[in-house]
Amino acid sequence: MIRSMARSLVALAMALGLAGRVGAEELNLFAWSEYVPQTVLDGFTKETGIQVNYETYASNEEMLAKLVSGAASYDLIQPSEYVIEALVKENGLVPLDHAKLPNLKNIGKEYWDQPHDPELKYSVPYMQGTVGIVINTDKVKDPITGYGDVFQDKYKGRIVILDDSLEIVTWAMAMNGHGPDQVTKANLEQAKPILVKWLPLVKVYDSDSPKTALLNGDVDLGVVWSGEAAILIKEAPGKFKYVLPKEGAHMFIDNLAIPKGAPHVDAAHKFIDYILRPDVSRKISEEFPYTNPNIEARKLLTPEERANEASYPPGNPKLSTFRDIGPLAADVDKMVTDLKAKSGP
């Protein structure tokens, strides 16, 4: 009796010890809402036994707000490129151990050399997209090639644009030949009169779901995320067209990165490597028709998916990423707020 008791006690202790370790095998993922399919998470847990705690946010700054407030320790975050730049500057990220990421080689060459994280020391591209022009071809018959074509008086009250002051300002700057990496007070002043002309023509500002106004027929064209355009193209084939503005378009890259202080750095690496597998990455593309930076995954896509011009814009468009503009973000916000208020109802 004593022996069996002792045996069960040992077993219990071992189980607890193991449980202690298994319990510690968690991953705190803080990512964009609806950007990581549940099937992908479940697959990861099945393979590795690591439980994923998935918290979500709807914008980069929302993520930063909670991160900076010192909330729960996250193992993985999903910042856009300009936020990666800011985080690296502030030493907020854990450098990646490439030895633990054998699948990193699947990422396309062009992503290894971006200004926000050359050599991918701190981040791994998750999905890429653009901000461009979407057109309801049933209503808009004229050729649209750039911002200038969109913001014409004849489209007054029929335009939707993102409710993002930085985006809006860079489009105006592009008209003057300034790229998004040239945000300065002077260039902003130059962009101002363009915005004064443009904003009264806008019917809807919407960063969350610009597709709504387009599908509802309340607007006929707009400047929106490529993902939104891709969804529209999928939903109403032949009706919508996506065009990258000739003056220059914003290319955004959402990445996975490990914030300083992450408790499960190892598990985080495992997850990143898992995401980099072509079959897994392909599943993500299925749910979110953005541009997949994983070249091997692209080979697994269907012809329709590859043909979706919003996901994979043809040609050699002029693309640039955003840079971290630091304190100028406040000036940009103030300028757009002011012009919006003055042009609104």
Partner: protein, 306 residues
């Protein structure tokens, strides 16, 4: 116009000095207020003097600054503050006009109907705000329910633009806040003694006078509560106006939210919040104090009783 048909001031006489029991019982409320109201407000105040952090947040390494408060009074933001006050006021007025009759009916209904009616009023608001608001978009859009019906019945030939207008914003705001006007007024109406109303009518007062001279003053506490519970939160609104107004009707709530998001300028957001808070606190405290003084330290501290 002062109409006092109820023995309100008598309450003043029975107010006691709080003994130890009085303070002890109040302790939880005081503690809660200090922990979860004063502390956050104090934090907000401190943040308003800080510099903005590189990733958001605040940076005290450069010391303190007053530039955030200076920024609050910039005409860019003042125009939005005025607009917010305007929309909040219109919303409150419409809610009062629309809600009072409903609150009156429910309050005077027989006991078996009252709670059922209240539930009927509230149940729609237990659905997700976002889906409700998008339902309004579906109803009001150019190809939506209302326009389609109107065109069907030949009332109009072209779709009428209802959505993404100030009117749509007001509609959305009224929709959101109407229950919060009805509920407080209801509980004031409920205690009206039928005999009082009848007496007023018997004594020759027409229904309009009976209403304005007797009923309204008696339900004044409820009205005041309703106005408070609609106007104040309406000032901080950001989501309804964003969707219904097509993002074109920014209010002070949106501006403050922006500071914690795209602008990454927390100290400025904090300064705006502090100013708003301070303005409200001062006005409320002063009105409250005055009401108490007039009542002779009475319990009825709702503005409107005086």
């Amino acid at each position: 116009m002062q109409a006092q048909a109820a023995p309100a001031p008598a309450a003043a006489a029975s107010q006691r000095q709080p003994g130890r029991a009085g303070w002890l019982l109040l302790a939880p409320l005081i503690l809660w207020s200090f922990a979860f109201v004063v502390a956050p407000a104090a934090l907000m105040l401190v943040y308003s003097f800080a510099h903005r952090g590189a990733l958001g947040g605040v940076d005290f390494s450069l010391g303190l600054t007053l530039e955030n408060f200076a920024g609050v009074f910039d005409p860019v933001y003042l125009q939005i503050v005025i607009r917010s006050i305007w929309y909040a006021a219109i919303t409150t007025a419409i809610c009062l006009a629309m809600g009072y009759p409903v609150a009156y009916l429910i309050g005077r209904a027989s006991e078996k109907w009252r709670n059922a009616l209240l539930m009927t009023v509230m149940v729609p608001f237990w659905t997700s705000f976002l889906i409700r608001t998008y339902a309004w978009v579906t109803i009001l859009k150019s190809q939506g329910l209302l326009n389609s019906l109107a065109i069907q019945f030949g009332l109009i030939t072209e779709p009428f633009e209802m959505l993404y207008t100030p009117g749509a914003v007001v509609l959305g705001l009224v929709y959101t806040f109407l229950p919060f006007m009805i509920l407080p007024i209801y509980s004031s109406v409920e205690k009206l003694e039928g005999s009082l109303v009848e007496a007023a009518l018997d004594l020759g007062a027409g229904p309009v006078r009976a209403f304005s001279r007797v009923i309204v003053p008696l339900t004044a506490p409820g009205i005041a509560a309703g106005v408070l519970l609609v106007f104040v939160p309406a000032l901080g609104i950001y989501a309804v106006n964003d969707i219904m107004g097509g993002g074109r009707v920014d209010m002070i709530g949106n501006i403050i939210e922006n500071q914690f998001k795209t602008a990454r300028n927390w100290p400025f957001g904090a300064a705006l919040g502090t100013t708003l808070l301070f303005a409200f606190a001062v006005i409320y405290w002063w009105v409250n104090r005055r009401a108490r003084q007039v009542e002779g330290g009475g319990a009825s501290v709702r503005p409107g009783i005086t």
